[in-house]
Amino acid sequence: MDWASGKLPLAGMRVIDWSLYWAGPYLSMTLHDLGAEVIKIESPGNWDPMRTVIDVNRYAGDKARPMTPQERSNVNQHYNEWNRGKLGLGVDLTDERGRQIVLDLAAQADVFVENHRPGAKAKLGIDYDDVAAVKPDIIYASISGFGQTEPERNAMALGAPVELASGLFSLNGYLHDETPAKTGFSYGDPVGALAALSAILLALRGRNKSGAGRYLDVAMRDALSFGIGAAFTDWSANGDVRSRRGNRHPVYAPQGVYRCAGDDEWVAISVRDNADWQALGAALGNPAWHGHPAFADAASRRLRHDQLDAQIESWTSQRSARDAESALQQAGVPAGAVLDFQQLGEDPQLAARGAFLEVEHPVFGKEVRASSQWARGEQPQQIDLPAPCFGQHNHELLSRLLGMDGDAIDLLERDGVVANEINAAAD
């Protein structure tokens, strides 16, 4: 893939993104990264809640400032993170003329992405059948918590709660703890998005061969469960509920997250085999305990893991996480400082890989955005567009794709069918 020359697998394709929050928008952003033009559809009375539901001023500290509802809706850094590269269309889907605009655009699209509830799609008349009627070879992808099938098709779950329903939450937790644990903030979203992306790319290959489109029903839960599929296989054979294993590994020993000097500073260390174990000893200055035959192999190290953890932590707690990481890596031991978000932004490896790039947003100004995971090394990506302001590309899209003239668009705007501001009363 080559972003500079535009040699990208989805170049020339068009995607309608009628999705909200995180999984759907993230998915359609990756379709843009692979070359597609992505049109984000929002309604003035029912926009992507990510624009407003989390008040960015809550986090902004001394950068907090009064904002109009319109300004607020265009600077949200959650929304802007997962919608960069898209063109924004603000259109009232409850108006038949608005619905028709979406269907007319879909008739010129290759992929349609949505994550609304079954009832909402049917009520607005923008279901798979509606879109396939105007574009029979459309790839229409629905992302949801549990899938579009009974009995759970109406159940709702965003990316965080869906982890509880996947089995993952029940298996997470500190060593031998009774209480389960939740991953980060909203782990179901990126996993569900990448699974749906895979399905769409496969379906496009199928369409290239057969000419047929298809409906894709991807459940975030199913994607999360697949990642821990071994636990399902284990249960089916053994019927045991396993004790929680915290940061330990079934084979590597020792492995853990160890306290370092400073407040809430930690380093993760894995000893994969005896070679790593010898290297760990060298990095720590070959302390007497390390040479004890009781630690000669992984099985015996596992038996005395607590004791080893205390010895390792007595070394890590004397130095910073980065110093510990560096000393261990120089010796060849897998080690990594536990980075917070700010440290991610400053990490030399991620920076050298071009993981975070800058783009100019018309309202917010300079923004740092993650670039595509597939654009590293030889062919770096340039971030071409920030996220759209609400309705930012109405005129361009309606004239370029639907051939409307200025008067026709003005009429739609006057009637509120097309809008470039959210209906703040609904905020």
């Binding site: 850094q77 939740k182 991953t183 469960s225 599929g229 396993r242 990594g336």
Partner: protein, 373 residues
């Protein structure tokens, strides 16, 4: 979806990252040849085991290697045979570091020169460029350096890895998408490609809240079980439930389910008020959730109310939803006997079950015979 049928994939890996990518390829219809050392892929040695402990019965092997073929090669002495196989294949998936691949004659530049249509996917902890490209890494250290560890667990304790090999799973999923993208490009142009995927990078760029953090200075730490009273985990009578009520419409629905007059108090009438009175609200809602069983709460969830009940692997395998969707397959395996193997998340209803994970070296005879290798 058998959209990769007639493509051959050579998988050379040691971790779940390449193994997941290979598994997705197999589910999509490709012939996936798992190249293993004579004593088996490292995941064959990882417990728990299904039945007797042994080289064929590791649960993670049975899951991630389902649908593949197995070829054992003694490397580096059989590197020539491997190179021939790779050059004749359509896709090469590996999580070996570049230095190791070069020793085997499998450096990406050499392969691309010899096999210009080959799609190469390399998944490593840090990628193949940058100052840390030769550093060692594992699932845990990639979660640390990718930022996910910092925000998982109890703020009063050490950061916590989630279950499984989730950094490697995210990377395996991302690598599969990138691989199919490169196959689409190859279909159109005839050209192969090299994807250099970094596991750290996948974890870091998949993280939510990174946008506000890097642009507004948001400082995020481990939040434990709860983001706030209106978005978090609560204990119920026999398990745990997640309440999702941070938006006005969701709050109104939750109130109609909970039916406690306290929730109508003025201080809880806006989301700002609910956040300002978070602890009191949490106490009231905890009183309600503790009085409900998972089954009672699940009934609310199924009709679309804003809550989500904890499920375990055993319950999901038996669930009507999964039976209807065909998520889990019953697979007969010579040593592990009848086991459940999950299908890829996009497999359609009525899809064929994956064939069981291969016996070690089952394809040696065919693949190493003259004319194939």
């Amino acid at each position: 979806m058998q959209e990769l049928a007639n493509l051959r994939v050579i998988e050379l890996g040691r971790t779940a990252a390449a193994a997941f990518t290979g598994r997705f390829c197999a589910d999509a219809g490709a012939e996936v040849v798992l190249v293993e050392p004579p004593d088996g892929h490292p995941l064959r040695h990882e417990g728990p085991f299904c039945g007797e402990e042994g080289i064929e019965t590791s649960a993670v092997h049975l899951h991630v290697n389902a649908g593949k073929r197995s070829l054992t090669l003694d490397l580096p002495s059989q590197a020539g045979a491997l190179r021939s196989l790779v050059e004749a294949a359509d896709i090469f998936v590996t999580d070996f570091p570049t230095a190791h691949l070069a020793e085997l004659g499998l450096a990406s530049d050499d392969l691309r020169a010899a096999a210009p249509a080959l799609v190469i996917t390399q998944i490593t902890p840090f990628g193949d460029t940058g100052p840390c490209r030769t550093y060692a890494g594992t699932n845990l250290t990639c979660l640390a350096l990718g930022g996910q560890l910092k925000i998982t667990g109890d703020p009063a304790r050490e950061p916590l890895s989630n279950f499984g090999a989730q950094a490697e799973y995210q990377a395996g999923l991302s690598a599969f998408a990138g691989t199919v993208a490169n196959v689409l490009l190859r279909d159109a142009t005839g050209d192969g490609a090299y994807l250099d995927l970094s596991i750290q990078d996948v974890v870091a760029t998949n993280l939510e809240h990174r946008g506000p953090a890097l642009n507004l200075g948001l400082v995020a730490n481990r939040a434990g079980l709860s983001v706030s009273a209106t978005y978090g985990v609560y204990p119920c009578a026999d398990g745990w439930v997640y309440l999702t009520a941070f938006a006005p419409a969701l709050w109104d629905r939750l109130k109609s389910v909970v039916q406690l007059p306290e929730l109508d108090e003025e201080r809880f009438s806006t989301q700002a008020g609910r956040l300002a009175n978070n602890d009191e609200l949490q106490a009231i809602l905890t009183g309600w959730t503790l009085g409900k069983t998972s089954d009672e709460l699940r009934a609310f969830a199924q009709r679309g109310e804003p809550l989500t009940v904890t499920e375990t692997p055993q319950r999901l395998l038996a669930s009507e939803q999964w039976r209807g969707r065909g998520v889990a397959h019953e697979v007969d395996h010579p040593q592990a006997e009848r086991i459940a193997v999950l299908g890829s998340p996009w497999l359609e209803e009525g899809a064929d079950s994956p064939s069981p994970a291969p016996q070690l070296g089952e394809a040696n005879g065919e693949l190493l015979s003259k004319g194939r290798a």
